[in-house]
């Protein structure tokens, strides 16, 4: 009889034990990853790949092994062993260089190639950015794509990503950089350039910079000096000329190869420069773009100096407070069909009432002035009236009064004047007729265009 009890006890324990085991297993089954790699971290994944053993060693020696094993997500562009045979010995010997080199291959976040449309620029842990496409990184083809890991992805590349300086560093310290242009770009104009043109230290963007030999630079600056004539201050003239030369020789588009270069570039300021490809001496790849070292490069003055358009309604001041008589009008241009906005001052009762426009950085050239002024039967008026442009003063002798014709939508010549000096700032006036009669002394203007005359 006791046997039965024993049997029962054993039986019960078997059920209990079996149940506990069963209970564990159900979760193991449910939580198991379908592909083994999905449960491995990047370090384990790299270490397990015989083709990446060299990179695994570099990860260990650079201290980045812990990083790629950590609980953040990364994309590792791992060069194959073969790619790393060509690694310059200075990198492996210099701990800080090695760190930068390895960090350059690790990107925060997971980038699957299938998600990438076009080119995206993504930062590596080194702070450098790379251009990613769905097949390449910085134009290096990915040989094995989207290898799965728990904390990110692995992309195998057949070539190591080089250690590159950025364009600003090239300008500042590279031996190939011509001295005169360097002096300008990284000297007194450095902060101006950063602010108004591009910050060439910015790794997240790509720039194409053109630099020219000292002689060519000298010639170009000399060429522009007359336009920036500061009487009695030769240095200032040269500096302003240098600035105006330098600002138009960089674009924030990447033209990585000569073949990809267009024959003309257009600067941020709309200035076109023809690129004579024959004059290219060297193409230097930087981490945020490319630098073309040219024998010479020229920007034509007629490209450099473009028309100055002054929107008349954006005046900086008026001779008298006549806001009650000032109308900012939205009008339809009967010739183009477009909408424009102009200014009309009517029945202000002041002889030679004027509006003032403050212009800046005006080169010393002769200008021809045009306006578009619509005298469209203002307040039932059927006559024309006169107004004039004043240079430096509202009643400057030239240009003289010009008649504003009735219902004329086209531009009208308003006279010409010459500046003999470069003008950092400069006042232009739009002056009414010397009368207090409402139908005679109106001012109307859409815009004033100053056309340089060479």
């Amino acid at each position: 009889m006791n046997k039965y009890k024993y049997f029962k006890a054993v039986f019960l324990w078997l059920i209990v034990f079996g149940g506990i085991m069963h209970g564990c297993k159900k979760w193991d089954d449910h939580n198991r990853v379908t592909e083994e790699a999905a449960g491995m971290n990047l370090l384990q994944r790299i270490e397990a790949d015989p083709e990446l053993s060299r990179f695994a060693e570099l990860l260990a020696s650079s201290g980045y092994a812990d990083t790629v094993a950590s609980s953040k997500r990364y994309t590792v562009y791992a060069p194959t062993n073969q790619a790393l045979t060509a690694l310059p010995p200075n990198i492996t010997q210099d701990a800080s260089l090695l760190k930068r080199f390895v960090a350059g291959h690790i990107l925060s976040s997971a980038y699957t190639t299938t998600q990438i449309e076009g080119t995206i620029r993504a930062a590596a842990l080194s702070g450098k950015y790379h251009d990613l496409t769905n097949t390449s990184i910085d134009n290096i083809a990915i040989s094995r794509q989207n290898l799965l890991a728990k904390n990110g992805l692995l992309q195998v590349i057949g070539e190591a990503l080089p250690l590159l300086e950025n364009t600003a560093a090239f300008v500042a310290s590279d031996a190939r950089m011509p001295a005169l242009q360097r002096a300008v770009l990284s000297g007194v104009l450095d902060s101006l350039f950063k602010r108004r043109v591009f910050d060439l230290t910015n790794e997240s963007k790509n720039y194409t910079l053109f630099v020219v030999s000292d002689a060519a630079w000298q010639a170009e600056v000399e060429k522009y000096k007359p336009y920036f004539n500061v009487p009695g201050n030769e240095d200032s003239s040269r500096l302003v000329a240098s600035w105006n030369v330098a600002k138009d020789w960089v674009v924030d588009t990447l033209y990585p190869t000569v073949a990809s270069l267009p024959d003309t570039i257009t600067s941020k300021f709309g200035v076109k420069t023809a690129i004579p490809k024959a004059n290219i001496v060297e193409v230097v790849k930087t981490s945020n773009g490319v630098v073309y070292i040219m024998e010479s490069l020229e920007t034509l003055p007629r490209h450099k100096f473009r028309d100055i358009i002054i929107e008349a309604e954006n005046y900086n001041g008026a001779s008298h407070n006549r806001l009650g008589n000032t109308f900012i009008r939205d009008k339809r241009d009967s010739t183009t069909g477009g909408i424009f906005r102009d200014v009309l001052v009517y029945n202000h009762g002041v002889a030679m009432f004027n509006l003032r426009y403050r212009l800046t950085e005006i080169p010393s050239i002769k200008y021809r002035a045009y306006w578009m002024a619509l005298n469209d039967n203002i307040n039932g008026m059927t006559s024309t009236f006169n107004q004039k442009i004043g240079v430096d003063s509202f009643n400057s002798p030239t240009p003289v009064y010009a008649t504003v014709a009735l219902n004329r939508y086209a531009e009208q010549f308003a006279g010409e004047f010459t500046l003999t000096q470069y003008r950092p700032t400069f006042n232009l006036y739009l002056t009414a007729a010397n009368s207090t009669s409402a139908n005679v002394n109106a001012i109307v203007c859409n815009y004033i265009r100053l056309e340089p005359v060479f």
């Binding site: 006791n2 592909e35 999905a38 976040s109």
Partner: protein, 1058 residues
């Protein structure tokens, strides 16, 4: 008016009653003619032996009811006169089970008595109208003898699990005292109750919750007011409950509590218990390392750039930062809210009396803590039951009980901001529960809501106050007067009075702010009072007579009356000035919401119960009830119209034939062979107190207060009617060592309550009608077998199993769609009532090419179309290439294929080992918790399985990609979340050792009890536990919303007899 219909129905019932009595008289005449002459001369001899040892039993009592009696001698021999050769002899002896032996034309009978059987057909059952031997019933019944001493922490509803074939007791949750939802023989109703009527000591025990708790998904279980040790006997009546009329549709559970059992000697039992509740095994959520990877995936999918993600404080691994320690932890949040806890119980029970009065008195105290920290239930209970013999003819009975419960609870289930368990699962392990200094030192202050917007689970368990105090007086007096030898009149008057007070306070500290309709609540508070007063009267005339020792007639004619008044008042408000001001008067007056409910309803039940037995082998039962209820609509059909009110008639008939008492079976090895059949009609009056009336509700319009109609009245609204057919066989073999019962049943509910959708032009969404119909067909089997019957070692094996097939026959528009917890449940004609209705899936697209080849798309809310891509779920499409609602199909069924229990009882010397195994097979479960923990659509922590989520082209996996906000609906209600909820559980295991005591010692008995519950569960279900029942509605069974899981506990106790 009430009086009038009482009178009318009484007249009707009296007529029926008299006809039964007259019928009985006629039988007498027939019987007298047929009676054999010289009945005194029939003598039967026999021996009574112990079945285990074969030794004769000295002093066993042998009797023929109302005829003769004898006592066996030292050799076990007896002789006794019998009126007929087919009479039944009762054989009883101390320490043995009663045996009823049909003489069956034998002169000599050998009786083998079994000791200490768990169940035999000769057991005495407590039936609605008095006690009856199971052998003689025509009804399908199950019996449970109280094992409360072994299970001091349980409630009776949970304790019945696995004990009675066909009773599907599904425990609501693992919260202390939560109890179980009971479904007897399948589903009888969609919107009315499915709970069997619970009758305690002759009076209906109101076991339903009126008005919801203010604390999310807490069920206040009135049955937790009953100490299970008070319970002596439970009879589960599956059919023939017509006697309870409009409350009998779901059968009845008849509970009798402590009484002296006719013993006048004072008997004192004391029990002291203490035990442990064990926190459940944790769900495998992500640890800090994996969670951060997962969070990174999530944030990437939300469109954040690598730089933005890297700049988040929990992504910056810089020890020098002052907030480093705040964001770099690996906290086991489940461990912070789940904890092992203790339970204790003391209990004293005294029975005794003299020939004038016997009594049973109990007092008890229990405290049971939950596995969720700071939850517990404390109970103080007392009960006094007494039987008085005032005179020879007048007897009195008193059953009085008073219980006070004091419960600390927490939000459970779907309460994203405040449920401790849910928050522990989704809370990022990166955070800490305390504020941490720059050097990592923990401050005593709790951490606030984290930057991901999730509450601090420890603030929830420690700072949210939510408790209730609940008491009930349940008492009745009964007087019984014997008018003559055959007629008895009795009346019972009882009341139950409940008061339930509930209070909660949700602080601002560490808890996500709640959005009210008119404000943001940084803290919230509320309280509620619910009361129930119920008056009950049961008055009846009883007639008992045996004619000529062959025809037994029993008849009961009476009426029951119940009047109930319930009311509920609640106040909630928010934004008290500080977390120290926790009561409702401190909240802002403008945010105060005051509400409540009042209900009054009456029930009248005129009943007639008649039983006829012929020669102890053919039994006929007739029960009927004519019911009136204040709830029925005045134009209800199918009832008798009396004084403008509707009185449905609920009849039932039953018949049983004890084939084994027939002559041709006299020498058979079959000890008992009984055929049973019953047909009954019963009603369900749970149709709402005022649903049949035209109601108006308060309405505010531009500052003016007025009343508007609340829906369309349906004066034809009536009870649900359940038609039950039951057929059964009872068998006993091997000198009653093996007992078997089989039952088949077919239940059909007509006039079933349904919401009929209305045309929008009416201005109302739906109207409650009786337009539904469903049926349940099923089968049940019960087995009791004494496997070993040694002198010392005894093994009783019991098993029960039941199955039912539920089918909807009619619902409006042929289908009802119920939405709950992001699931859709379909109730359609021709199908089971509650099926999960969602999308079928077929894995995950590994590549974009695969997804493109499938051509599947989804239409967004703005009308644009999105194509499924690699990493999305491949939903099964109906052919139109668009994944939309038309692709849904039945994906699961929460009804089990079969369920039941297996019990084992081993006794050896002083030891007794009880093991109950319960099982439920084939029931599907919607794992809402896993849906939340694998949806990968936000910052919530997830299960470890999300590490397998799709990431790269070509990756083979079953887990879709992490996608912020789930734009493609990969997490829609689909078979991804449906699991097999089958389980086999070692429900309870008890070891008792009875110390040998000296007969003259201080202690009459000393027993040590060790009980374990839920010790082992075999299931494939991926959750804490496969058993839960979020509401009593059959439509939302099988949905795991994350209630406190049922967990293991162990109790050690000592029972002393003084």
């Amino acid at each position: 008016m009430t009086k009038m219909y009482i009178r009318l129905t009484s007249v009707l019932s009296v007529a029926l009653f008299l006809s039964t009595v007259v019928l009985g008289q006629q039988i007498t005449t027939i019987g007298a003619k047929a009676a054999p002459t010289g009945m005194d001369t029939i003598v039967v001899t026999g021996t009574v032996k112990d079945a285990a040892t074969g030794k004769p039993i000295d002093g066993s009592r042998i009797s023929v009811q109302d005829f003769s009696a004898a006592i066996s001698d030292s050799l076990g021999n007896f002789w006794i006169k019998v009126p007929f050769l087919n009479a039944a002899i009762f054989v009883e002896a101390d320490g043995y089970n009663r045996q009823i032996v049909p003489v069956n034309f034998r002169n000599r009978i050998e009786v083998l008595l079994l000791a200490d059987m768990t169940h035999t057909f000769d057991d005495l059952l407590v039936m609605p109208l008095g006690q009856q031997y199971q052998r003689y019933t025509s009804a399908a019944v199950g019996q449970y003898r109280g094992q409360g001493w072994q299970q001091p922490l349980e409630t009776i509803d949970a304790l019945l699990q696995g004990q009675v074939a066909g009773l599907n007791a599904i425990r609501r949750s693992g919260a202390p005292g939560a109890g179980a939802n009971l479904f007897l023989n399948g589903i009888n109703s969609l919107y009315a109750t499915n709970q069997p009527l619970i009758v305690v000591d002759g009076m209906p025990f109101d076991a339903s919750e009126y008005g919801q708790s203010l604390i999310a998904n807490n069920y206040t279980n009135p049955l937790s007011l009953i100490d299970v040790k008070d319970i002596d006997n439970v009879t589960v009546l599956k059919d023939a409950a017509s006697i309870y009329g409009a409350k009998g549709a779901n059968g009845a559970i008849i509970i009798t509590t402590v009484n002296a059992g006719g013993q006048q000697a004072t008997k004192i039992d004391a029990g002291i218990y203490a035990g442990m509740n064990f926190a459940p095994q944790q769900l495998p959520v992500l640890n800090a390392v994996d969670y951060r990877i997962h969070l990174n995936r999530m944030l990437s999918s939300s469109g954040m750039t690598a730089e933005q993600i890297a700049g988040l404080p929990y992504m910056i691994d810089d020890l020098s930062r002052t907030d480093y320690f705040r964001y770099h932890n690996n906290t086991d949040w489940q461990g912070k809210v789940l904890d092992n806890s203790v339970n204790q119980n003391v209990y004293l029970r005294i029975t005794g009396g003299d020939n004038i009065a016997t009594y049973g008195l109990t007092v008890g105290y229990m405290k049971n803590s939950g596995v969720i920290k700071n939850t517990d239930i404390e109970r103080y209970n007392t009960r006094f039951n007494a039987d008085f013999n005032f005179s020879e003819r007048l007897k009195g009975m008193a059953n009085l009980s008073f219980t006070y419960n004091d419960q600390n609870v927490k939000d459970q289930g779907i309460a994203d901001k405040t449920a401790p368990l849910f928050n522990a699962l989704v809370k990022a392990p990166l955070f800490h529960e305390r504020e941490l200094a720059a050097d990592g030192t923990a401050s005593p202050n709790l951490e606030a809501v984290d930057i991901l917007g999730i509450s601090n689970p420890v603030a929830i368990t420690d700072k949210i106050e939510a408790y209730n105090k609940y008491y009930r007086f349940f008492g009745s007096f009964k007087f019984q007067y014997d008018i003559s030898k055959y007629f008895t009149a009795c009346t019972m008057v009882g009341i139950q009075f409940d008061k339930y007070r509930e209070t909660f306070y949700v602080p601002s500290e560490g808890i996500v702010m709640d959005t009210l309709w008119n404000d943001i609540a940084n803290n919230r508070m509320g309280s509620q009072v619910k009361q129930l007063f119920s008056l009950f009267n049961d008055t009846r005339l009883e007639y008992n007579r045996v004619f000529n020792y062959q025809h037994s007639v029993k008849a009961r004619l009476g009426f029951r009356f119940q009047n109930n008044k319930a009311n509920q008042v609640y106040v909630t408000t928010a934004n008290s000035a500080t977390d120290d001001l926790v009561s409702v008067q401190n909240g802002l007056a403008g945010l105060r919401q005051v509400g409540g409910d009042m209900g009054e309803w009456s029930w009248i039940n005129n009943y007639l119960g008649a039983a006829y037995g012929f020669k102890d082998k053919i039994f006929l039962d007739l029960n009927m009830a004519l019911d009136g209820s204040s709830r029925f609509g005045v134009k209800a059909a199918n009832g008798l119209t009396i004084a403008g009110h509707q009185f449905p008639l609920f009849p039932s008939i039953g018949a049983a034939w004890l084939v084994s008492s027939e002559k041709f079976m006299s020498n058979s090895a079959v000890d008992l062979f009984k055929l049973r059949a019953s047909y009954s009609v019963a009603g369900n009056d749970d149709i709402g107190n005022y649903a049949a009336r035209q109601l108006y509700v308060g309405q505010n319009l531009l500052g003016a207060e007025g009343s508007v109609r609340k829906g369309i009245s349906n004066p034809e609204l009536q009870w649900e009617t359940v038609y039950k057919i039951n057929g059964g066989i009872d068998l006993a073999f091997f000198h009653n060592r093996l007992g078997l019962s089989f039952d088949v049943f077919s239940n059909r509910t007509k006039n079933m309550l349904v919401y009929r959708p209305m045309e929008s032009i009416t201005g109302f969404g739906s109207v409650l009608t009786n337009g539904g119909e469903l049926q349940n067909n099923g089968f049940e089997a019960n087995l009791n077998f004494r496997v070993l019957n040694g002198q010392q070692l005894k093994w009783d094996f019991g098993a029960n199993i039941a199955t039912y097939k539920n089918k909807i026959l009619a619902v409006p528009q042929d289908a009802i769609y119920t939405n709950y917890a992001n699931a859709t449940i379909v109730t359609a004609v021709g199908q089971p009532a509650n099926q999960f209705y969602g999308y079928k899936t077929n894995g995950v697209f590994a590549t974009d090419a695969e997804a493109a080849a499938s051509g599947l798309t989804k239409i967004n809310t703005d009308g644009s179309v999105s194509a499924f891509e690699a990493g999305d779920i491949r939903f099964v499409d109906n052919g139109d290439k668009i994944i939309d609602e038309d692709d849904r199909t039945v994906i699961g069924d929460a009804n089990p294929d079969f369920f039941g229990g297996v019990s084992n009882r081993l006794t050896w010397k002083g030891f007794e080992l009880n093991a109950l195994v319960t099982f439920s097979v084939g029931n599907d479960v919607y794992n809402y918790v896993r849906y939340r923990l694998e949806s990968q659509s936000g910052v919530q922590n997830q299960l470890q399985s999300v590490m397998n989520s799709w990431q790269v082209e070509g990756q083979q996996t079953t887990m879709p990609k992490a996608a912020w906000g789930d734009p493609m609906g990969n997490n829609r209600f689909s078979d991804r979340w449906i699991e097999d909820g089958s389980y086999l559980r070692l429900r309870s295991l008890n070891l008792t050792y009875n110390f040998p005591v000296k007969s003259n010692g201080v202690f009459k008995s000393i027993a040590v009890l060790l009980t374990g519950n839920n010790l082992f569960t075999a299931t494939k279900y991926l959750g804490y536990d496969p058993e839960f029942s979020v509401t009593s509605s059959p439509l939302v069974q099988g949905i795991d919303t994350g209630l406190t899981p049922v967990s293991k506990n162990v109790v050690l106790g000592v029972r002393l007899g003084l």
